[in-house]
Amino acid sequence: MKQQSPLQLFVEDLDVTFGSGSTATHALKKLSLSLHHGESLGLVGESGSGKSTLAKVLTGIYGFDSGRAVVAGHELTPGRRKPLKDRRALQMIPQDPYSSLSPRRTAGQTIAEALDPKGADTKKHRATVIEWLERVELPPESADKYPYEFSGGQRQRIAIARALCINPKIIIADEITSALDLSVQAEVLDLLGQLRRELELTMIFISHNLAVVRHVSDRVAVLFHGELMEEGDAEAVFRNPQAEYTRQLLNSVPGRPGFNLRPDRAAA
């Protein structure tokens, strides 16, 4: 539906292998994906499917063996292991709310560092910091609080604000709700969905739960053992999955017709 907008991310025949010889693991096999401006892609798969590997290749933390990867106009070269010079090309929201914020820095200092990595001056950027805190529905006085004073959900909101405040071209959200309580997950997802519409984010949302992904994605890509199983419109994949593996994935979501735990109840 947004095919006419410019291409922000382009991945073709991407191959990533860890280790060598008999212990080598093929993390990504000939993976091809693309993402247009303002579009959101849900990347779904279980642990070991290669979804986090893809995120780390795109951020430049891991290198790749062969294929092409173009991130916001910057071509990544195979073997390179370094983040892009252009920090506005891509930013990431990490998974674990307890490791994503430095315990010794206030929320304000954390966001100010993103705005200005050299000085990280909280006084100078006070207005912008508070604007972003309000955008993620946190009160302005949170700016002077330390991470231990926040709940897991609130910490993830701060991490979201930190990633979005420099207006990056691509955002990668790596399992950002999986460590949260269900009710908090719903709130954080709701917020992200809302921000996505307001700010026209170009986003890759990674999760192991297909049901979570559909609220914040236009398209869904399902990965299994480093290979693309299925790709398509989010709601369509959710309602009418084509690949057998996608069906399995959906049946393990609590509440789906296929989610049955009690053999004694299956008969009833």
Partner: protein
């Protein structure tokens, strides 16, 4: 105002003023005295310390508290005046070790892996030599002198700081906030200053303080053998060396420098130990009596309590009663007086699967742990009745019986296993130590349970270490071990929260069929109404320490819930899952 009063006055106030740890206080007082001596002694006593007089080799007297030396100089004054130079040299040497050590220790993380391995390896070799030996070699090469000695001693302590810094910054470098700062293009020096150093400041300060004492002794040693401070300047070491020549004729001459070395060293050591003690929450020294949780009968009216106790005994003794868990008026109170669980009642019948649902902080895990007799540290629990698996938990129960009848499955499989032990060793521990099972029999039974939980190639798996298995496999293994003893009651605290949804469904399915085969009752704790609905016969919804609603699976399935909080949980489940 004491801590206890303060806590009572403002239980919600988070930032409580911390009193200085007594050891730290003692160290700071001693160190302040030594530093003051270092500042003021040269101003007040330099004349009596340095000007020669005819009162040579005087014994201890009112005029000369420690006597005089062969040039008639007052020994007491000399010991005090020497403090300034000694402290300056020690501070300089410590600064060299800390600055160079910490700089190398943090910067290695920005070097290519091979260079890092080379530096860390070379440093490990350097750590193996005693500091003093290295200091002696450097001092011998550079020649005698006060500042070259300080340099030598400082360099000799660098490897210890490099090693500590490398080891401590290693987990910090892997943290998400460091990765994010990296992606935000924060420069490496800023990254070290803002994120790495502040998060390891405490252990660094502790080592610095202890190292100060060691440096002081080493510097005095170099001066003592003539490689350090040279006459006419003097520090503690040189004073000691002067005293040595006359040790038999005038033994009192050693008292001054010896006492001062001990005092300054003790001050630094006590500061180090005090910092270490106050950075460890366990030894912060407040409310010693409250350190482990206690569980006692509710202080109800005597006859009512007796009645409750009677009921508990009946429930415990009567096997036909079909009640595995009976909880009446369970209250859990935190050390600061906040009530975390506010008097809840519930039962679990035999073969029943009961879900306990709520958010983090609702008190569900506290309830479950107290029920198993594992009241967490720092809280007090009281109950009118507390029966678990037929045992009255308010009376002493043997650990053997508890191990036999109650099994626990924890949330995070990665942190509940000991990474150094093979699965067989740790999973059969309860069966071997409490049930007296022979190792071969325990092993056989574990293999059976592994098969039951569909763990692939069980014979091979039990010989593996935890890191060789995936999270789902580990959680199955833990469930398998909890089933070894054929428990009557299984308490599962969010056993699948850390797992992928696909794995969760598989693990739960096998968990249910295994517990049903054992005829065990299950208390299943979760924050996920979707899972609980599919799994449990009955669901208790817990909110802020109270059970706000009790539902049957059928009521939950048809959405007949009353409490607004349950509604909220259901909405969340519908949003995140697909209910």
């Amino acid at each position: 105002m004491t801590m206890a009063n303060e806590a009572q006055a403002a239980p919600t106030q988070k930032k409580q003023k911390r009193r200085l740890h007594p050891i730290l206080l003692a160290g700071l007082i001693i160190m302040t005295v030594v530093v003051l001596i270092g500042i003021f002694a040269p101003m007040w006593f330099s004349e009596s310390a340095n000007v020669q007089s005819n009162d040579r080799r005087m014994p201890i007297s009112a005029d000369h508290p420690l006597g005089t030396d062969e040039f008639g100089r007052d020994l007491f004054s000399r010991a005090l005046v020497a403090t300034r130079l000694t402290l300056l040299l020690t501070v300089a040497a410590s600064a060299i070790s800390v600055v160079i050590g910490v700089t190398i220790g943090t910067l290695v993380w920005f070097m290519p892996p091979r260079v890092r391995q080379l530096i860390v390896g070379a440093n490990s070799v350097a750590v193996a030599f005693p500091n003093l030996v290295i200091a002696l070699i450097i001092a011998a090469i550079l020649g005698p002198g006060a500042w070259t000695a300080a340099f030598a001693v400082g360099i000799a302590s660098v490897p210890a700081f490099v090693r500590l810094t490398v080891n401590m910054s290693s987990p910090i470098m892997a943290r998400d906030y460091v990765t994010t700062a990296h992606l935000l293009r924060v420069s490496k020096y800023k990254l070290i200053g803002r994120h790495v150093l502040p998060n390891m400041a405490e252990p660094l300060l502790i080592l610095t303080a202890s190292n100060f004492a060691v440096t002081l002794v080493e510097l005095s040693g170099l001066s003592f053998i003539g490689l350090g401070v040279q006459s006419p300047d003097y520090d503690y070491g040189l004073l000691l060396s002067d005293a040595l020549t006359m040790i038999y004729a005038q033994p009192t001459q050693v008292i001054g420098p010896a006492v001062m070395i001990v005092l300054a060293g003790l001050g630094a050591m006590l500061i180090g130990d005090g910092l270490a003690a106050s950075s460890n929450p366990r030894t912060r020294g407040q409310r010693r009596a409250m350190r482990t949780g206690t569980l006692r009968p509710a202080p109800a009216a005597a006859n009512e309590q007796a009645k409750e106790q009677e009921a508990a005994r009946e429930a415990a003794e009567d096997p036909e009663d079909e009640i595995d868990v009976r909880v009446r008026d369970l209250r859990v109170t935190a050390a600061n007086g906040t009530e975390l669980v506010k008097g809840i009642d519930f039962d679990v019948r035999r073969r029943e699967i009961v879900g306990l649902v709520g958010e983090s902080g609702s008190g569900k895990s506290l309830t479950a742990m107290t029920l198993c007799g594992l009241t967490p540290e720092g809280v007090t629990a009281t109950a009118g009745t507390l029966v678990a698996a037929g045992h009255n938990m308010l009376e002493p129960v043997s650990s053997r019986e508890l191990a036999q009848d109650i099994a626990l499955v924890y949330q995070d499989p990665m942190s509940t296993f000991n990474p150094a032990l093979k699965l067989n060793t740790q999973l059969t521990e309860v069966a071997r130590t409490h049930l007296g099972m022979r190792p071969s029999r325990a092993r056989r039974k574990l293999i059976e349970r592994f098969e039951q939980l569909k763990i692939t190639s069980p014979e091979h798996r039990i010989g593996q270490h935890p890191h060789e298995l995936s999270g789902g496999m580990l959680q199955r293994a833990m469930i398998a071990s909890s089933l070894l003893a054929e428990a009557k009651l299984i308490v599962a605290d969010e056993p699948t929260t850390a797992l992928d949804v696909t794995v969760q469904a598989e693990v739960l399915r096998q968990f249910v069929s295994a517990t049903q085969e054992l005829d065990a009752s299950v208390l299943f704790i979760s924050h996920d109404l979707g899972v609980v609905e599919a799994l449990c016969d009955r669901v208790l919804v817990m909110y802020r320490g109270e059970i706000v609603e009790e539902l049957t699976a059928e009521q939950l399935g048809s959405r007949r819930v009353e409490h607004p909080y349950t509604r909220k949980l259901l909405d969340a489940a519908e949003y995140v899952e697909a209910l």
